[in-house]
Amino acid sequence: MNPTPKRLSFKAMGSFCEIQLVDESRIRAKNVSKQLAGEVARLEQKYSRFRDDSFLSEINCSAGNKLGLAIDDETQALFDHALNCFEQSDGLFDITAGALNQIWDFRKALVPSQAQIDAALAHIGLNKISCKDSHIHLPRGMQIDFGGIVKEYAADSVARLARSLGVEHGLVNLGGDFSVIGPQPENKPWTVGISSPISESSIIAKIDLSKGGLASSGDYERFFMHEGKRYSHILNPMTGYPSAGLRAVSIAANLCSVAGSVATIAMLKNEAEAKVWLDDSGLGYVYMDSEGVIADAGLNSRELDET
């Protein structure tokens, strides 16, 4: 008889998070999951753009400082990964694109003027930032946001920490970014449900995961209609306008961090290019396109019950 998974749910990084562990000792499982939640809290504290005392805020405050700011290895590695994403996506995945968020107000559902967009674009472009030898130099007016990377990284980091603490069976879910610690006992995979971008309470696919990670990106209810046009919250840093490609995509990869980057880039591309990008990636995926058509490949997805 195998013990049932011990679940620890908490709120972090603006999302619902859950860590499931299977351990013969429920006390040990509880202690370990607390340590794991602590790792998520550490990364949130360090990289949150909503906290004035985060290290990220310190980086953004240093914009325009000629001497730059000293950064640690972890931040350097995150920056290197962000720059890699920027290069591999020909500039679509850009952690400096935050300036666009300030002019696109999704609550008021207003389209900004072209002059506003041009002003914001002047402060966007990761290639304008120098970050090497543990020093970052942010030009005046520019900001970075690791929001598109840190949650996936945290999921992988927590999974690795769990394995190093001797956990063999477990799953980390940080707001829909999944990283497998190890399969369920008897090598059974974890089943992950993927929400529909139309309604988060309905599921478009169920996927079996035994290792690696799964990440999703989509316009999940965060879009608005203006003069008959749909504007998603995913903003294209080249045009300054929301991207109008796929509605949602989920990717499985060896790491949640890789899955997340591939998914974000897919969402930023136009629909036709996104489909080619996904097919050529060799990774397992499921997406919903602008017509509401769901397609998948290379995933252990389950048939959904007809409802």
């Binding site: 790792e39 290895d73 972890e74 590695a77 995150l78 290197d80 990964h81 720059l83 890699n84 994403c85 290069e87 591999q88 990284y153 945290a154 992988d156 980091s157 927590v158 690795r160 920490l161 394995r163 190093s164 001797g166 063999e168 006992p185 008897e186 090598n187 059974k188 995979p189 035994s210 990869a253 060896n254 790491l255 961090s257 890789v258 980057s261 591939v262 080619v276 990008w277 050529d280 990636s281 060799g282 990774l283 397992g284 490949a297 290379g298």
Partner: protein, 385 residues
């Protein structure tokens, strides 16, 4: 186009793997594994036309293998291997010409051979940030043979773990003291030494495929002949080189992996060989895996091979009728069935091997009549705890 995108994914993986919370190149085992494997190797008996006189029963070998792999502290692992073999049957003693002029085989001993071999090896691996180093020592003993050996190797990961380079060396010192030596005028006691060096590079091409290439050199010196053959005189030195390549690719739609291996071998006895094999690792549900395998082997003869022993040439000349030194080809086919039930894992392997001079792509001027056909059956059980 396809390659460009795949390269993108590899590039993205490279920086993701470098993130400090994720990077941990090589991990020591966190669990102990105890394995046992029983193999039976049975050579087909010779027919009366191949060996008109004496014994027809060839080797029948049972092998028991035990292995323990266990964590040793935080950064080390312990490996203990113990093997026990029991062998019975007969091996070719000498070849001669039959009444029709064709070579015939004469197997050794009226009652055949019966022997046991015991082997123990102990090793440890130490895991570093970007690789590992390992060493092992071992001892093997049978009633006419003794071997003491050690090995050292290390591996290092580069290019964000996508590339692994490993290298190692091993040394073995063997003593041979044939049974019934005085009775059959065999050598009383001899020895040989072997030194081996290898380097290997493995490259993860993308998350669905990988490639490995390895080069090894082995230098043997000492008594390299077969003391049980009536006439078997080989050089005292032998240099061997082997180049092995392996390609693996996983097919998502089939839920299976293809393994393709090729090995080239050459030694200064004059033997060159090519080995190619293909295996298909089909996952069946979450528990089972079925693996059919096909192998083709092909070698040239040693410079001094003869299919009929010539007792008139002076003993200063090299000569051997050992079928393993002849030009021949071999095909073998088989399958493995593996069941993985979490802490238990069981495997069953069956293989049929057929050697024939007609299968050789090399020149076969002197075919050996003693080539083997065998069946191998093995059953293994692993327990993780």
């Amino acid at each position: 186009m396809k390659n460009i995108a795949s390269r993108n994914i590899i590039a993205l993986s490279s920086t993701a793997l470098a993130l400090p919370g994720i990077a941990l190149a090589d991990a020591p085992p966190t669990q102990s594994t105890l394995s046992y494997k029983l193999s039976n190797y049975q050579e087909d008996d010779l027919s009366r036309s191949e060996a008109p006189f004496g014994e027809l029963d060839r080797y029948d070998i049972d092998v028991h293998q035990f292995q323990l792999v266990s964590p040793l502290g935080r950064n080390m692992s312990l490996h203990v291997d113990a093997n026990y073999e029991s062998l019975s049957g007969a091996s070719p003693w000498f070849t001669s010409r039959g009444l029709d002029g064709k070579p015939i085989v004469n197997l050794s001993g009226a009652s055949g051979i019966s022997d046991r071999r015991s082997e123990l090896s102990v090793g440890s691996r130490y895991y570093l940030q970007n690789g590992s180093v390992a060493g092992n020592i071992g001892y093997s003993e049978e009633n006419d043979y003794r071997a003491t050996y050690f090995g050292l190797n290390g591996e290092r990961h580069f290019n964000n773990d996508l590339t692994t380079v490993s290298a190692g060396l091993s040394y073995s010192s063997d003593d041979i003291f044939p049974t019934d030596a005085t009775e059959f005028n065999r050598v009383l006691e001899e020895d040989k030494q072997s030194t081996s060096l290898f380097v290997s590079v493995s490259q993860i091409i993308n998350q669905l495929s990988s490639f490995q290439s390895a080069l090894s050199f082995t230098e043997q010196s000492g008594f390299l002949s077969d003391p049980y053959k009536l006439r078997d005189i080989r050089p005292d030195d032998k240099t061997q080189i082997a180049w092995s390549n392996s390609y693996r690719r996983f097919f998502v739609s089939a839920n299976a992996a293809l393994h393709v291996n090729y090995r080239y071998y050459h030694d200064d006895f004059g033997i060159s060989s090519h080995t190619s094999d293909l295996s298909w690792h089909q996952n069946l549900g979450r528990t089972f895996q079925f693996v059919p395998l096909l192998r083709y082997y092909n070698q040239s003869a040693a410079d001094f091979f003869t299919n009929v022993d010539d007792f008139l040439t002076p003993t200063s000349e090299y000569q051997s009728s050992d079928y393993r030194l002849s030009s021949f080809g071999a095909v073998s086919g088989g399958f493995s069935l593996i069941a993985d039930m979490g802490s238990w894992k069981a495997s069953l392997t069956a293989e049929r091997y057929l050697a024939n001079d007609k299968y050789s792509a090399f020149d076969v001027s002197e075919p050996s009549t003693a080539l083997v056909k065998y069946n191998r059956l093995s059953l293994g059980i692993d327990f993780r705890f």
